[in-house]
């Protein structure tokens, strides 16, 4: 029960920081979505010691454990592109698969190489 309450109020705190991030983006016309700005803002709060990691540990841990869940309802939206998929779905799939593979390869291999060197 205590754990549950912690998750609720800590999620509320994360939500407040998220809204602050969205507000900053709107006011300063940043090229960022509100949630990413909120993440950077929260990082600054943690780094400066204003927010203690323990204050968001339970709520943040819970939300991150189930981070994948949020992408299910969003992905269901793909069903509204049925006609386009039937017409040129295979071409698009091939193009997206190829470019995802190249991106993963470039970042993965270059970071592993550079990271290995800079750790020595």
């Amino acid at each position: 029960m205590r754990q549950f309450l912690n998750i609720v109020w800590q999620s509320a705190l994360l939500w407040v920081v998220f809204r602050c991030g969205a507000f900053l983006v709107a006011v300063l016309h940043l090229a960022l979505p509100g949630n990413v700005a909120g993440m950077l803002l929260m990082f600054a709060l943690l780094a400066s010691g204003i927010v203690k990691p323990a204050w968001i540990e339970a709520g943040g841990g819970f939300l991150l454990k189930h981070f994948a869940f949020f992408f299910i309802p969003i992905s269901v939206g793909l069903m509204s592109f049925g006609p386009l998929m039937r017409q040129s779905g295979l071409t698009l799939l091939a193009v997206l698969v190829l470019s995802a593979a190249v991106g993963v390869l470039v970042t993965g291999v270059s970071v592993q190489f550079l990271h290995g060197r800079s750790s020595r």
Binding site: G38, M39, S75, G77, T91, V106, H115
Partner: protein
């Protein structure tokens, strides 16, 4: 009736997630990705029962309400891994930027070779960036935002299934490299997979997602025209 349908969609989605998550954690095989399996199951169910995306949307809005706070929570693993950022700033920045530029160039060149129309090519450009930014980039570049949103989701799915397989095949085992690669190409969905691999990989997924979004938004106005007919 509407409330009943809403409750049904909520239950079905949460249920699908819980079941597919168990399957994934049991076998740890990327093709059993919970988002992929649940999405397939729900779309099949909606098609079979005569439901529509419009009907499902209220439930989607309710279920994604906490995505913003969850993204903010990524600051926590990021903070715990701040020494990685401090000590390896060059590999992190260079790796994400290189991956973003490579995946954009590749999708445009391949799309052009495949004969896709100009409007579709522009909409494909920001497909590796998190939805809210990708939509905005696409609109500014003269693309079709809804089409971009669909490409972003499809890329998220493809990268989160193919990414771990490819990284393992290439013997990329360093969690920093794996997290960055998944976040660069597949934004939040890749980060979700990275989080299931471990805390460091998850933190790097969040870093990559933010860096890729910002750098793509900054370079696209100059970079995109190079590849357009």
């Amino acid at each position: 009736m509407r409330a009943l349908l809403f409750a049904c969609y909520l239950l079905v989605t949460v249920g699908a997630y819980l079941v597919t998550r168990r399957i994934f954690l049991r076998f740890k095989y990327p093709l059993l990705n919970p988002v992929f399996l649940s999405t397939l199951a729900i779309i099949a169910l909606l098609e079979a029962s005569g439901g529509s995306w419009e009907g499902y949307q209220p439930a989607k809005e309710a279920m994604t309400f906490l995505l913003g706070p969850a993204t903010v929570a990524l600051a926590l693993p990021l903070y715990k891994n701040r020494s990685v950022l401090r000590n390896h700033a060059l590999p992190v920045f260079a790796g994400v930027l290189a991956g973003s530029l490579a995946t954009i160039a590749c999708v445009l060149v391949a799309g052009r070779v495949a004969g896709l129309p100009r409007g579709v090519l522009i909409s494909l450009g920001p497909k590796s960036v998190t939805v809210p930014i990708a939509v905005e980039i696409s609109r500014l570049a003269g693309g079709e935002p809804t089409l971009t949103a669909a490409f972003v989701v499809a890329t998220g799915m493809i990268g989160s299934i193919l990414g771990p397989l490819l990284l393992s095949a290439l013997k990329v085992r360093n969690p920093v490299a794996r997290g960055l690669a998944l976040g660069t190409v597949s934004h939040g969905q890749g980060t979700a997979v990275a989080l299931m691999e471990g805390e460091t990989a998850g933190a790097m997924g969040g870093v990559a997602m933010a860096l890729a979004a910002v750098s793509t938004a900054l370079v696209i106005p100059y970079y995109l025209p190079l590849f357009l007919p």
